[in-house]
């Protein structure tokens, strides 16, 4: 048995699965401390279906907690960015293009030092230990607890980042250090941005991971704990402590994969309506379609591989207002306080959930508090507004003239109409409300190859094919279903400073978990 948990901004959902069977599914409110919400969810799972904690093989958690912390500019650690590249790169120092409020939120300090490599491995300038020592003093003086180190062409040679990290670690015991060569790909500013974001989340990651481990232990669960990554694969908790940024896109990835699993539709638009936002993504042959160009996260440019998702400020907790005859929905939401604030729960705020109940679309809370109370035409107008905005977003995500089926998931999907344009009837699979938690529980299995290959003239194709096959084989060996494995990433970095046309080749292959393999 496996437990999948999704910790969203509004709800914490949990499922108990055996193979491909959903044994129990619950939805509870997210709590500010995250962990007490999980405790509640686990208790409710047990109430729905008694299980022996010792029979649980794995717990998979998907969470938007880290990306939300960034978006809300809250719970972030004071962070320094140290870049090695002088005399080059001075025109655009670290965080040059960040929204001011985020620089403030991380008390961001930027340091430019000598160092960096040319593309062919030569040194732009030597690393100067005295400079790094002065940076360490300044970091200490300003009470900074986490550092991001970037160096020009560190994907080609990471020696300067590693050396600077050693010096800083020796001077600043206990400081968290994130290296750009371990976080991102070619493209200094984007890689550095991702590294700084990662650094600012390290303390929160420690707190959350500690809390999750304690919560599970208290529930008697001894199974390993995993967190979902951007590409739908899992990472263990030690990795999660060091690279919280790798969870950023796990929310939409899990919801789309959960939707495909539940509906059996593998090419479709997935509309995931949560408490605060609606995320619209596209599945192609079961895989989330990736964003092509650089993705901005909370106004910061990065080069993560992320699903192409359009987010609208429409969710079950969205506030509904009527001003001057016009009805608006969102973008502000009562969020996780839906159960206190919404009218159907005896609150004082008109939300999207209230209008859905008033219009007879759903039975939530106490319908008598809204039916006959909320003006029927206001409710219809609000639902019409939601339907139009979502239809418009689906249209924008579509890349071919062929009709695209729509699968609706998420607790807020009761807000959606029964059909959109030429897409036909909206699919609302069983357990639609907990698709994210199911997506976490049916995690994908990855196989990675990342090493230096000699590429003889005329042999590139053969070397690449071999690397791809190796990545696929590794995914299968790790438990992926053979027919489902697909290469999702191929990166080549020529290393001109090594003989024999040396090239760093990185290939990642990902496939569905062979569920039978973990049945237990």
């Amino acid at each position: 048995m496996r437990i999948g948990i999704d910790v969203g901004g509004t709800n914490t959902d949990a499922v108990l699965m055996d193979g491909t069977t959903v044994l129990a599914a619950v939805k509870t409110a997210t709590t500010r401390d995250v962990t007490s919400g999980i405790t509640t969810a686990l208790d409710e799972l047990k109430r729905q279906r008694a299980f022996d904690p010792a029979a649980v093989n794995a717990v998979m958690i998907g969470t938007t907690h880290f990306i939300n912390a960034l978006v809300e500019a809250d719970r972030l650690a004071p962070t320094a960015a140290v870049r090695l590249g002088l005399p080059s790169t001075a025109s655009l120092p670290p965080m040059v293009d960040w929204p001011e409020r985020l620089v403030t939120a991380i008390s961001g300090r930027a340091y430019l030092c000598h160092g960096g490599h040319e593309f062919d491995g030569r040194h732009i300038a030597e690393l100067r230990e005295d400079e790094i020592l002065r940076v360490a003093e300044d970091i200490d003086r300003h009470g900074i607890r986490s550092v991001a180190i970037s160096s020009v062409f560190s994907p080609v040679n990471a020696e300067f980042e590693q050396r600077a990290a050693e010096i800083l670690a020796a001077q600043l015991p206990g400081i968290a250090i994130s290296l750009s060569s371990e976080v991102g790909r070619m493209g200094l500013l984007e890689r550095e941005n991702a590294t700084i974001i990662n650094a600012s989340l390290r303390e929160l990651a420690d707190r959350i991971v500690d809390g999750l481990a304690e919560t599970l232990a208290a529930a008697g669960i001894r199974a390993p704990l995993y967190l979902s990554q951007n590409d739908g694969t899992l990472m263990d908790v030690d990795f999660a402590r060091r690279y919280p940024v790798a969870t950023f896109a796990s929310g939409p990835t899990n919801s789309m994969r959960g939707a495909a699993f539940l509906s059996g539709v593998d090419t479709c638009a997935v509309v995931d309506v949560g408490g605060t936002t609606s995320d619209i993504g596209v599945l192609q042959n079961g895989f989330p379609r990736e964003a092509t160009t650089e993705v901005s996260v909370a106004g910061i440019r990065t080069n993560f591989r992320m699903p192409d998702v359009l987010s609208l400020g429409i969710g079950g907790g969205s506030r509904v207002r009527e001003t001057g005859g016009e009805v608006t929905v969102g973008p502000d939401s009562v969020g996780y306080r839906l159960v206190e604030r919404a009218l159907v729960f005896g609150g004082d705020t008109l939300t999207a959930t209230d209008v859905a109940v008033a219009a007879g679309r759903a039975e939530i809370g106490d319908p008598s508090l809204v039916r006959g109370v909320v003006d029927r035409s206001l409710a219809e107008a609000a639902l019409q507004r939601i339907a139009e905005d979502i239809a418009d977003a689906i249209e924008r995500m579509r890349t071919s003239p062929d009709p695209l089926p729509v699968v609706a998931v998420g607790g807020g999907s009761i807000l959606l109409p029964d059909s959109f344009g030429d897409s036909g009837r909206v699919h609302r699979p069983d357990h639609f409300a907990v698709a994210n938690a199911i997506g976490a529980a049916i995690a994908q299995i990855g196989g990675m190859v990342d090493r230096i290959f000699p590429v003889e003239p005329g042999q590139r194709r053969a070397v690449l094919d071999a690397a791809k096959q190796e990545a696929v084989d590794r995914a299968i060996a790790a438990g992926a279903k053979p027919g489902s494995v697909r290469v999702v990433e191929v990166d080549e970095v020529p290393l001109a400073y090594l003989p024999g046309n040396a090239t760093r080749i990185r290939v990642k292959a990902v496939g569905d978990l062979q569920v039978e393999a973990v049945r237990g």
């Binding site: 790169t89 040319e118 593309f119 732009i124 020009v152 070619m186 200094l188 092509t292 591989r305 080549e492």
Partner: protein
Amino acid sequence: MSYTLDRADLADLARGAALLGTGGGGDPYIGRLLVDQALKETGRTITVLDPAELDDDAFVIPTAQMGAPTVMVEKIPRGDEAVIALRTLERHLGRRADATMPIECGGINSMIPLLVAAHTGLPVVDADGMGRAFPELQMETFSVYGVPGSPLAIGGENDEMVIIDTGHDNKRMEWLARGITIRMGGVAHIAEYSMTGADVKRTAVPNTLTLGLRIGRALRTARAEHRDPIAALAATMADTLYDKVRVLFRGKVVDVERRTEAGFARGSATLEAFDGDGKLELTFQNEHLVARVNGEVRCIVPDLICVLDSDTAEPITTEGLRYGQRAVVVGISTPDLMRSPEALAVFGPRAFGLDVDFRPVEELVPA
């Protein structure tokens, strides 16, 4: 018409210039940031001069970056290298520039003269010597129509400067400058092709900064209003010197082979059609040189081959191409000035070692 450029215009300009850069000309994000940051620091605005309003005896020194765009995304400049190059050339010639000008269109190279302007206060002439981007310094309309590139000045991040003077031999100037660029790490900043206002009017492709701005704006507004950005591009180009726009292919990038070699980014890319039926192959040297669909040439240099994000039509430069991207590939007719026999001798297919004659995109892909 001359005008003042605002910081708010920079993103549109960089986007449109990157499209005209036909895969090369540098990363528009870094290009925009460089100018934006300099304007923020100096508090200046930039005057864009219409070449038609330029005095015949005005003295113009174009500025640019040369090298491999694959290097630029990592090794960002110190910031004043192009100013060092300009000042070095002025000292060498004993004459101050009245304005600077781009030598090509591109995400970086349309912006370097603006960066120089932000630092010096010089105006920027709204024209360039390619009407797109090319990888080599002799590949200029200036050169084709008789203006020598020499003397050329190079400025580097260690305050070094170099003067190269090869008389009228622009190809040798390129060869020597390329060698220095490689020593400098694969990117260098230059000032070259100094000329009079009269020469600008005679030899430059006019109003290409404004065209970049219009293209960038058209793509952005089409996207915001949920209109087809490719149709918006075609409508924008209809009344310009680049009036034929053809969609060559839509598909997914399945292979990118790219090397930083001899001071260029060289390689090829393959796209597979969304329905799995058909392949497009691109060959590039900084810029896209030829696009073949199922082995047949559909667009070839000096016509423009632009790879755009299939959803947003954001230009994708050759150093930004990667596995899995979904793209639409567009061919655009180059201005007639660039298709003359003497122009094709300098930057037609055979100048790049391709064993094919130039054929206009409107012939290869009828409307």
